[in-house]
Symmetry: C2
Subunit: 707 residues, 2 copies
């Protein structure tokens, strides 16, 4: 849409020149007009007489609102009267709002009142925008009145939004049903609301000085959406912009960092137990094939590698320097790294911002910016890139190649990633510690993994985003190509924030993170174990070609639990077509159940499993298969595992590769059967119906937004 | 409270005698008076003139409502007009409601209108009662208007309720905040609402012919709660009562069944692969010490045990008969069991109600009732009672004794229980298959486990309750003594139900199950894995002596995830007192963080873990301890596990036994460390922060209601 940005700008510039953070009703009206925000007809009056005169020949209902810069929440102080008809009522109403306001705030300068045409009955909603320290300008939509004020039913998007995003917001609030028409009222006209969300979000994007704006309430009917009250708050303070290299610059640096031809270890040590020793060992034991240069002021040789007193003395080009020296020495070596043309410094040392040493960290950051060195960390375990045999870490080496890239802000989570990966035979492309994120952060990693042919799934443990907007931008792009799983820790901490608008006050940390992560196409998880299991499972499952999920089970009880899990995870249980029902019934006992779940019953031999599984795999209308196995003597766990692996392999050979997930219930032998199936790239879990379905649900969640 | 039950009874008896299922406004008013349900002053008028006459000298606002037996939802047909003041307005209003109603339903016999005093502004709520096929009379409470009609924000309790239960209902609805006073209104007077809930619930308990009742809306203000509209629907059909033995009878029979001195196996077989052979083997291999009598028409001896042609031929008393014969032969043998004085028949055979053979099942049930034999099953795997070395099942034997009793309706879940128990070294007191639950069900089991000294925790997989009211009654009692975990499968199936009241229509299966399980003090889980993990964990954790939970961690990142999990699980992170803060700081590095979590930081030696753990264990103000371990070279996993086990053992010796749960993140060695800790009865999990905290949360949930 085209807005009259110049008109809005002029109003704001005038306010700025007069150092005013609030606007007069007339100014607000000008901005509303410029951005096509429908407001009721209204007139400002300074006295009761003027008010009465205004309605001398107008018998439609009016709303009378007190006007005073000092009074923000007019309704709360009795400063609003509705249903005012006729001159006498108008005079009374004017007096009433003025008196009420004065009673509440005797100091307030009361300018008069606004007389508005009363908008006919509709659904009250709130549309607003706020400025978030992490995400910048956000637009908000919620149900008005108690729904948003008491129940906090509101959602957010980065501003400006597209019409599609605005439309998603309408569906996303918990009580979106109230927009569909209740108690005999017609449904609200959604286009009008979408227009308004887009207008408000474009307004704050165009005029960043608007720190907060509330359209509260907006009265939405089937035909129109009118902003009955508009409040705008300005903030002229310059926002510090985080420096951001271009995508090409990021890619160039990240590629050298993740796949270096030469690595220097600053503070390498021959002494067992030292970090500089562990890092050297891991690089060597991990099988790194490039140049490896220990840097040490005096040593000649460490672990069979020739030492250099400084990075500047190294004879070849160097891509990364892994730092194993105390915090206070880091900054000066960074400068040398810059001179040497090193692309990245891997800052293992702690002792920076995480213990309050912000200045020391800033020194390092300044040195890095000045010398064009990217920083990983500080305060990290290092990182792994298996497809380059690179273990640049003081932790244990991990070399099993796979297609999952993981990152963590915390070292503890990093170690959990390594342990889980090894235990579950996950295989990874990369594991990266981000620590204090003084420089390189998730959007840099995402930019690299996006094009990395060795990475198909990305999973990130995030405590805070340094630049939420950049993350959202990159994640939105990357998640269309590869699933991005995010564990946002610190969910339950609600940062107190000062805000004078409703929208601002409602922007609790986690609600905003949640909305923006959703907008970015990210699969958000709430637990470490889900992050790990999803990372593993998403890499194994092929992308489903449609929504039809079939459950096939040997245990009716498992079928019920698997159905519950499907519904919990937004999966569509296929409605069984008659012909397919007949086809399944041919293989199962008469008291078994076709339909969905297909219950082949517990007493069946391997051939029944095989026949029904083959049917399901080869049937095009079935897009995903959930198998619930029940341990019996007739079809023991390993027999089941082998027949399933055979069927899936045969289907894959024919070019049929649909997601198959399994829940195995039975005695401990099912654990081996699961291991066997997982080795054959069929996702299988013992003693749970929920986990396999949750992973399948995550794959669907990704696939739907990637389309 | 004392109600005038006789007056209500008289009204209902009259309706019954006239075969009327609906009541006149006068009759409803009589019942409301009898149960102290405040209603507005009201008068019935048959004509507009009568209506006008009524308000000739009354200028307060009235509500006019059409009266017609055929019109149930008056508002929806325009049959209600509010704010009617004066004679002229009253005549118009009368005509309007009659015309509107007639337009909507030209067939309806319209009797006139009800003129009510209009109740002043307040919060609209709905209070009602309905008759549930599983739970019987239920009372409901929800927010009125769109909140309940569109958003389904409603909760239920078995009727009659106590005042405490009624009070819980007010807090339990999602939007309970709306009762606290919003937008400047004072909070709603809760006592009045509690009175009303108790009245309605007592009314339906006293007069079971009331199948549904709606008080909708009730207008609640700070001073009163008035039922503006009351609807009552009768149903005279006799409800079939499920026969229920007395508690003593249940206990006597169940004790003989679970701890039998003599077991007969009907259909025992010498042939490998037959169920009758597996059962014999399992009883023998499981180490059963009582008499074991194979019953077979011809065999002399099976597996070294003398055979008998019929149970009647067995020389001693017999407690249970395990059936391994086809379904069609069961009923006649049950009769023999009765003659023999056998307490219980364990019906492994399938082929009954689960495949539609309801008559065959009823035959068996009739025979059992007639001969005073309790039935387990049919269609089950059998059951285990380890403390009596009893494996009365065709599955694998399982003999590891523990204090957890588990039951499952499905065989698949039963096998998962056995596999998980063996894999996790859980140890059980009993595993019981319930299958079709033709007779013995969860309340019988609960009654036995309640007094069973070998059982401390009970976990049940439930697909449906045959008698929800009996279950709730027994579970409420038992859960005060021992934790009862319930996995209710089939959650997402919303049974369609015919109902003509709001309350009835809102009583979706799962919402009712959820409310009644909560009322019963049961810990409800939504996943099989949670059921198993909670069962194991609850048996290990001692009961906490207070709400203060402390997190102690070597990894800041784990601390954040553990804090999230604590909040998710309703746990209270202790506010750290200054003196304790100082005490912790003595042991941790200056850049570590006391407060809660206590972050000892990652580089610390075993002594720091020991010192801080000892401090936490010995400090009375800390009631539960969550330890987040991070794998480092300085304190490797096994070293940590041993030091923690030592500290806990030392504390236990001093009589200090508080819940300790651990999350271990690190390389695969943490798995062994977890196993070691679990062997020492310290709950520990690798690669997850959520699971240990969830189990601790379950223990708290139980402990709070058991007080």
């Amino acid at each position: 849409m085209n807005f009259d940005t110049q008109n809005a700008r002029a109003v704001i510039d005038k306010a700025i020149s007069e150092q005013r953070v609030s606007l007069s009703p007339e100014e607000v009206a000008l901005i509303a007009d410029a951005y096509r925000i429908p407001t009721p007809n209204q007139h400002f009056v300074a006295s009761a007489e003027e008010a009465a005169k205004l309605v001398a020949e107008d018998n439609t209902p009016k709303v009378v609102k007190v006007v005073s810069d000092e009074i923000l929440h007019k309704t709360d102080v009795g400063g609003v009267v509705t249903d005012v008809i006729g001159t006498e009522a108008m005079q009374n109403a004017f007096q009433q709002v003025v008196d009420s306001a004065r009673t509440q705030n005797s100091e307030a300068e009361i300018k008069g009142a606004l007389i508005q045409d009363q908008v006919s009955d509709g659904v009250e909603v709130i549309i607003g925008a706020t400025s978030d320290p992490v995400f910048g300008k956000l637009v908000a939509f919620g149900l008005g009145g108690i729904m948003v004020e008491v129940l906090k039913d509101i959602t957010f998007r980065l501003a400006p939004t597209t019409r599609t995003q605005a439309s998603e917001m309408l569906d996303e609030i918990s009580d979106s049903k109230l927009l569909e028409g209740v108690r005999g009222k017609p449904a609200v006209g959604k286009e009008g609301l979408i227009d308004l969300i887009c207008s408000v979000s474009q307004l704050v994007a165009d005029c960043p000085e608007i720190s907060e704006i509330d359209l509260n309430p907006v009265i939405a009917t089937s035909t129109e959406s009118v902003a009955v009250d508009v409040r705008i708050i300005l903030d002229f303070e310059e926002q510090v912009q985080r420096p951001r290299p271009s995508k090409d610059e990021i890619l160039a640096a990240m590629t050298r960092i993740m796949r270096p031809s030469a690595v220097a270890v600053v503070g390498a040590s021959a002494e067992d137990g030292k970090i500089g020793n562990s890092v050297m060992r891991n690089l060597i034991d991990g099988g790194y094939q490039g140049h490896l240069y220990p840097v040490h002021p005096r040593a000649e040789e460490i672990l069979g590698k020739k030492c250099y007193p400084s990075v500047l003395d190294i004879p070849t080009d160097v891509d990364i320097a892994v730092f194993c020296i105390p915090a206070r020495f880091v900054a000066s070596v960074i400068a040398e790294c810059g001179q040497k043309g090193i692309a990245g410094a891997v800052l293992i040392p702690s002792g920076f911002a995480e213990i309050g040493e912000h200045e020391l960290q800033q020194e390092v950051v300044d040195a890095a910016r000045q010398h064009n060195v990217r920083l990983l960390g500080p305060n990290i375990y290092g990182f792994y890139y298996t497809h380059h045999d690179l273990c640049a870490t003081f932790c244990t080496p991990y070399t099993e190649r796979g297609s999952v890239a993981l990152s963590s802000q915390s070292g503890g989570v990093g170690m959990a990633i390594i342990g889980f990966s090894r235990s579950a035979n996950m295989g990874v492309s990369a594991i990266v510690g981000l620590g204090n994120k003084a420089d390189i952060d998730e959007d840099d990693l995402l930019t690299f993994f996006e094009d990395d042919p060795n990475t198909q799934v990305i999973a990130m443990h995030v405590e805070d985003l340094k630049d939420g907007r950049a993350f959202a931008e990159v994640a939105s792009r990357v998640s269309k190509k590869k699933p991005v799983v995010v564990l946002k820790a610190g969910r339950t901490h609600q940062g107190a924030r000062a805000a004078s608008s409703h929208t601002g006050a409602l922007a609790g940390d986690d609600q905003v993170y949640d909305a923006v992560l959703r907008q970015s196409g990210v699969i958000r998880v709430n637990s470490l174990n889900d992050m790990l299991e999803f990372a593993r499972g998403l890499a194994v499952l092929p992308t489903p070609k449609g929504e039809n999920v079939l459950i096939l089970t040997g245990a009716g009880g498992s079928g019920v639990l698997l159905s519950d899990a499907c519904v919990d995870n937004d999966l569509t249980l296929m409605t069984m077509p008659d012909d397919l029902d007949t086809a399944f019934r041919e293989f199962i006992p008469p008291f078994g159940a076709a339909g969905n779940p297909v219950d082949i019953t517990g007493g069946e031999p391997p051939s029944t499993y095989s026949a029904t599984i083959d049917l399901a795999l080869n049937e095009e209308r079935i897009h995903s298969l959930v198998v619930g196995y029940w341990h019996t003597i007739i079809t023991p766990p390993m027999v089941f595992a082998e027949l399933l692996a055979e069927s899936v392999a045969a289907a894959r050979e024919k070019g049929i590769d649909k997601p198959v997930v399994c829940s195995l219930v039975g005695d401990v032998e099912v654990e081996n059967a699961c291991e066997f199936l997982n080795e054959h790239r069929i996702l299988a879990y013992p003693y749970t119906a929920e986990k396999p379905v949750a992973v399948l649900g995550a794959k669907y969640k990704w696939a739907r937004q990637a389309v």
